[in-house]
Amino acid sequence: MTADPAPGGTRLAHFVSDAPFNPYSVEAMSPEQERYYLASQWRMMWWKLRKHRLAVISGVVLLLMYDTILMSEFLAPYDLQTRHTSFIFAPPQAVHLFHDGRLVGPFVYGFDYHLNMENLRREYLPNHGQVQPLRFFCAGDTYSYLGLFEARFHLMCPAAGGTLFLLGTDRLGRDVLSRLIYGTRISLTVGLFGITISFLLGIVFGGISGYYGGWLDNLIQRFIEIIRSFPELPLWMALSAALPINWNPIMIYFGITIILGLLDWTGLARAVRSKLLALREEDFATAALLMGASPSRIIGRHLLPSFMSHLIASATLSVPSMILGETALSFLGLGLRPPITSWGVLLNEAQNINVVALYPWLMFPVVPVIVVVLAFNFLGDGLRDAADPYKN
């Protein structure tokens, strides 16, 4: 280093920038980065989930199906119990647009019915003379919307004096499509109620087990192992056979959801426990403890939120097993009972091989079952990946 210029000597000319200097400029972030770093955990999870295209599509499908629950009465062309005694086991009617090369708009052909005297089969043939145009936003069967008010307004109705069985009719001449739409309400909510119960049980038992540890933990873990070693379906069967026969269908419905939830919580409880075991050693948990927070507050306020996302993901993955469980129970006749109609109750009609051979449309309710189970699985997978937004 050379010594400073002698006092009184001339200063060497050099450039000095007048611009204000920000010592943190190196650390400053571009707006994009800032958005990323300041984003909340949930926001980041949403960004990650958005990239999982299949999960998003599944989510939309599920959302739409759950929306139909709110307006089953409006969407269904007929009422749940409307019988068409002259159209028993009628096959699905196809929707056409053109009649004799001329655009009519959506319409169906009427049926010609005759009984085959040789094998006593009911035979329905489309009658090309009868053109029955569909009506939209029209007045049809009277229904009571959720028991609140009466209305006759439907999305679709058959032509006056005509029929509209897009998925055929069952052994009492009831429209399968309408029953399917009503069944969605029950089948989808069974899973939701069931998972709520299992979620609560899982958090409580897993929380106790993971937070306190010791003999309590041991006891709960042994108990979980025992429950898990029971095969689910036979146990479900036994429990639902134990529901009193004189209960009304609504109580049976809640009974079944409780039974479904009672056996399912073990997986969630284990997830809660293992997460808690890891998290309770963290500094923030100790800090909360030192400040005098009660255990329930530490678990509920500090520990649970940090792995809630994982819990939601695994809960999503166990909804389908409940829906399938309800379907199986109702199929066996041990689950929901008419007049409550779920997809399983509808499939109960498709119990023997004759149905497959003669009335295959009665098996259609299996399609929404498959769609919903797949959608829940894909959505759950996506959520599970998104639950840890800091990975990668």
């Binding site: 070693s229 029971f230 146990l235 036994a238 134990a242 199986a328 199929f331 091989i353 098996m363 498959i370």
Partner: protein, 332 residues
Amino acid sequence: MLAYTVNRMLIMIPTLLAISVITFIIIQLPPGDYLSTYVAELQSQGEKVSAERIEFLREQYGFDRPLYEQYFVWLFGMLQGDFGYSFEYNLPVSAVVGDRLWLTVIVSFATVIFTWVVSFPIGVYSATHQYSAADYTLTLIGFLGLATPNFLLALVLLYFANVTFGTSIGGLMDPQFIDQPWTWGKLGSVLEHLWVPVIVIGTSGTAGMIRRLRANLLDELQKQYVTTGRAKGLPPFRLLVKYPLRMSLNPFIADIGNLLPQIVSGAAIVSVVLSLPTTGPMLLSALRSQDMYLAGSFLMFLALLTVIGVFFSDLLLAALDPRIRLQGGATR
């Protein structure tokens, strides 16, 4: 290993006791008992049932004793091979059950094997060809198997076998072997009929197995020793089989604990549809008619089947994986 085995067996005893308590509670849950149903039925048919006879029956079946005593009678009876009395058939439970237990074991075991045999190559292929078209297709098929209620699959298969082969594939053996003692011919007939239920029940478990094997193998394939091996010039196939595949095989064994209850569940409903002479249909009818000892023995047996299956899977796992043997605990 011996210490581990003994330890593991000792754990099974309290587990089974707890299971027996739960089973007993469940079969006691329905209001009333078989006797009151039976008496009501007789009365509705116009038969007179004297109070003495009711009392006699009640005493004979032990319904007059307190619940815990009934439980101990049931439990000690089971330990001596006496499973109680089936009210509906008027026979001891062991006579009613007959071959059903063994056939259930056979079906479950065959399904486990089927699940392994199918998911192993598919899982390996999916992992080594990640994100290929075949990977996606196979995964989708697996998911479809998971999502389809297998009772319906059974029904459809039943129909198509009838149409294409002209044979009935319901049941587990040709009619002439039913209720006959076991011979080679009967065993052969059972094996011939076995494939339909096995495929139908296996579909639901296979998807999960494929996904787990694929995920495990993918994890292993990214580890450094694989890179080292490749850098040193190991041929790809040898590289795959030598280490990563072995490492990712653990879930095959360890997962029996999850797979077996699932298979037993699936078998229960599929056997109702296919009218297999296994435990499923009889359990259903026993539950419906409140034939409590019969239902109880079936529940107990199904739970026992999974407990023993898990026991063997833990032993196998300990034999395969020294880490588990040394820690003295199974990981699931």
